[in-house]
Subunit: 482 residues, 2 copies
Amino acid sequence: MDASEYLGKEMVDYVADYLEGIEGRPVYPNVEPGYLRPLIPTEAPQEPEAFEDIINDLEKIIMPGVTHWHSPYFFAYFPTASSYPSLLADMLCGAIGCIGFHTINSYAASPACTELETVMMDWLGKMLQLPEEFLAGTTGEGGGVIQGSASEATLVALLAARTKVTRRLQAASPELTQAAIMEKLVAYFSDQAHSSVERAGLIGGVQMKAIPSDGKFAMRASALQEALEQDKAAGLIPFLVVATLGTTSCCSFDNLLEVGPICKKEDMWLHIDAAYAGSAFICPEFRHLLNGVEFADSFNFNPHKWLLVNFDCSAMWVKKRTDLTGAFKLDPVYLKHSHQDSGLITDYRHWQIPLGRRFRSLKLWFVFRMFGVKGLQAHIRKHVQLAHKFESLVRQDSRFEICAEVTMGLVCFRLKGSNQLNEALLQRINNAKKIHLVPCHLRDKFVLRFAICSGMVESAHVQFAWEHIRELGEDVLRAEKA
Amino acid sequence: MDASEYLGKEMVDYVADYLEGIEGRPVYPNVEPGYLRPLIPTEAPQEPEAFEDIINDLEKIIMPGVTHWHSPYFFAYFPTASSYPSLLADMLCGAIGCIGFHTINSYAASPACTELETVMMDWLGKMLQLPEEFLAGTTGEGGGVIQGSASEATLVALLAARTKVTRRLQAASPELTQAAIMEKLVAYFSDQAHSSVERAGLIGGVQMKAIPSDGKFAMRASALQEALEQDKAAGLIPFLVVATLGTTSCCSFDNLLEVGPICKKEDMWLHIDAAYAGSAFICPEFRHLLNGVEFADSFNFNPHKWLLVNFDCSAMWVKKRTDLTGAFKLDPVYLKHSHQDSGLITDYRHWQIPLGRRFRSLKLWFVFRMFGVKGLQAHIRKHVQLAHKFESLVRQDSRFEICAEVTMGLVCFRLKGSNQLNEALLQRINNAKKIHLVPCHLRDKFVLRFAICSGMVESAHVQFAWEHIRELGEDVLRAEKA
C-alpha cells in the first residue's frame, strides 16, 4: 500500500467528529454479552475490503459496545488521559515504528527512543520535585523508565527487591538456596491497596500481607510494626513495603513519613504506587502529599491517568538502576563489569517485563511542550475544583454523606442508610445511562465513587450529574418508604 | 484543547512524507551516546509551545537518532510490522481511549473492546488452521488474547503451568508447600531459544534447562528425553517445555512432532513460541511447519512482526482458558463458580500481566479487512521469495557460505573463513551505513543475519545490498591477505 493512499485524513476527521460529538453519545453501552459476534462474519475476508466499509461498520458494530471514557458524563474508575498532543505523538510513534531496545554491545535499535525517554523522565521527575537521587542526569545512579502500567511497575519493584534481598542473604550465608529464601520472604501493603499489588506477589511467588489501614484508610507505623514483629518472630524475612498514595477506593494516602523510616531501619525496599494521585504532585499545593518519597527505593505513577498522556505511559523511577537491571539480567557478573548502563547508555530491556517497547516518550515530549507545566497544572486544579464542587453539593443535602476526605478528583459518597439503599441508587443511576459511576466498599459500607474523569467535563456537567443523582436518590428513598 | 484545533492532518502529512521518503534517509543513525540531552532544555517549559516548533525539532533532534526500521535497507533483527490500515486503527484506538478490562460482576469497561478481541483471535486462529480447541467460539474452553510481546506470553504460560502443576501436586499431597514444589520445578527450552524464555524462569522463580539442539538447530526428542530422565532421577519435577518455531538466530524449528508426545506422556505444559515465523502459517505451503501444535497447551506469535499489524500485538491462544486465569485470579474458589469467563464474557485482566489494555483488536480488524487474507499471504510470500533471492546470490559466490536452511525471510551467511574476518565484514557494513544488519552466533561461528524486514523492500534493494556486501567482503579479504 502506497503512502499516497494514506487515509489518515479521513480518520482524523472521524476522530475529531467522535471527540467533538462525544457528549451526545450515551456514555454507557446498551448491549448484552455476546452482542458483537453475530454482527460480523465468522472468518476474515479473502479479498481486501474498502476503508469506507470499515468506517461504516464502526458505527454499526463497534460504537454501540463502547463505554465512552472521555464523555463528560463518565465519572467511573479514575480518568484515563487523552489529549490531542498525545494523539499526535502516538501517530508519529506508530509511523517511526521502531522497537526501542538495545542489543548487547550495540547502540543501534534506536538511540533517540532510549535517550528521549531518559531525559523526559528527568523532566517529569523535576516537575514532581523528586529527590535528585531518582534522576538519571548524566552521572546519576537512578533514573526513570516508562512502564505499561502501574501493575507492571509494582511487579518489577517486587522482583528487584526479591533479587536484592536474596543476594544479600546469600552473600552472608552462601548455603542458602533461592527457594529456601523465597519461602520466607514477606511483603506488606495496605488493605486499601489495589489488587495488582497482591497479584504481583502471586506472580513473584512470595507471601504478601495486608496491613489494616487506620480510620482515614491510611497505612500507619503501628499496624506495620505489629505485623513485622510477628513475622520476624515466626522466622519470616520482611523485604518489601508497597505504599499507596491515592488508593483506588477512596484516594487515601499511606503515611510515608511513618512507614519510610521503618523500611530504612528494617532494610526493606519501599515502593510507592501513586498511580492516580501522582500527577497532582506537579502542583506545589499538593506536593506535600509526596513528602517521604526520599525514603523510597522506587516510585511510580501513571501520566496516562491524569496528566493528559494517552495510555499506555506509567512513569517509574528508581534510586539505583542496578537494582532493577539486576533482577532481569541473566548474568550478574556481566552486570558488574558493564559500562552499558551508565548515565549515557541505558538498556531499558532490563528495566521491564517485555523486551520490546514503543517510542512512548514522544507522548511526554509533545504533551509537556504543547501544554506547558502551567497548562498541566491547570488541568489538575480544574478537576480538583470540580470534585470539591460536587462535594459541597452533596454536603448541602442532609440525606447524603461524604465517606472519605476529598483531596483530589474523587468524591466517595452515599445516601445515609443501608447498603441495600445505595446499591439500589447505583443501579438506578447506571440503568438510566445518563452518567456512569462505579462503587467501592469502605469497610462494611457500600459507597458510590464520583470521579472527575473527562478532559471535557465542566461545572455544568457536574451540576447535571448531582441533580440527576439527587432525583434518583429521592426515588429510591420513596420506594423504600412505600 | 478543542477538537477543532486538532493538528492531526499536519501530522498525517508529516507521517506520509516520512514514510514516502524513508529510503532517502540513512538507515542507521550517526550519533554518539548522550547526543540528545544537550540538544533540549533541562526542564519542561512552563508555557505552551507551538506544534510547529515541535515538528521542526523532530528533524533536528529526534530523526538524527532514529534507526529507521521501515527503511528498505534495514535487514536487521526481524521485521517489525507497519501498515496504513494498522496506523489508522491505532489512531482510532487512541481516540476511543478506553481501558479494556471488566470489573468484577460488571460488563462495563468497554464490551466492544473485549468482544472484538475474542472474535478477531478466532479469525486469526482459523487463518492459521489452529485446532478448534484453541478457539473461543461461543462455547469453547479455549481462546485467544492479545499480549504485548512474546516475552509476556512466555511468562504467562510459565505462570499458568506453574500454578497448574502446583495445584495438581498439592491435591495429591496436601502437605506440600508452594515453596517446596517450586524448588523442584524445572522447565526446558532449546539452546537456540530467545533469552526471554530463560528470563521468564528468572521472574517466575523456577529452574530452566537448555536442551542442546541438533545439527539443524532444532530441539529433538532424544536430547529432551535425556535431560528429563536425569532430572527426574535427581528428584526434580519437569513441568514445562517451551518450543520455538523460527528461532531468533537462524529461524530453526524445534521438532514438535517429537517433543509434543513427550510433553503429553510426562504431563508437562507445552508452550510454542513462533514469534516471527507464526505469521507465515497463514500460507498453506508453510502450514506443515505448525504440525504438532495439537500437542500444545499454549501457542503464541507476533502479528506485530510479520503480519502488518503495528507493535504491540502478540497473539496468544490457550486450550483451556481457566489454566491462564487460574494463575492470576487471587481466589481460585471464585473461579470455579464463576460464569464470567464463559465464551460470552471474557475478562482479559486475568489473562495477562498488566490489568489495563488498549483496544488493540481494532488493528487486527482493519488489517484483516483492508488486506484480505490474500493480501497478507502475498506479503509473506514476497518476503520469503526475496530471502531466497538473496540466498541464491550468496550461493553463487564461492567465497561465501549459507549457514542454516532458509525457510522464511531470514538468511544466515558468512564469508568462508575465521570469525574475525566476518566480524570485520559486519563492522564495515554497519560503518558504511548503507544497509543495516546484526549478527548471531551459531555454535562457535560468527554469522551475519540478513532479514527481509521492510514493507517497502523490493528485489532491487536486495540486489543492491548483496553487491554492497560482496564489495565490502572483497575489501575485507584483500585486507586479510595484505
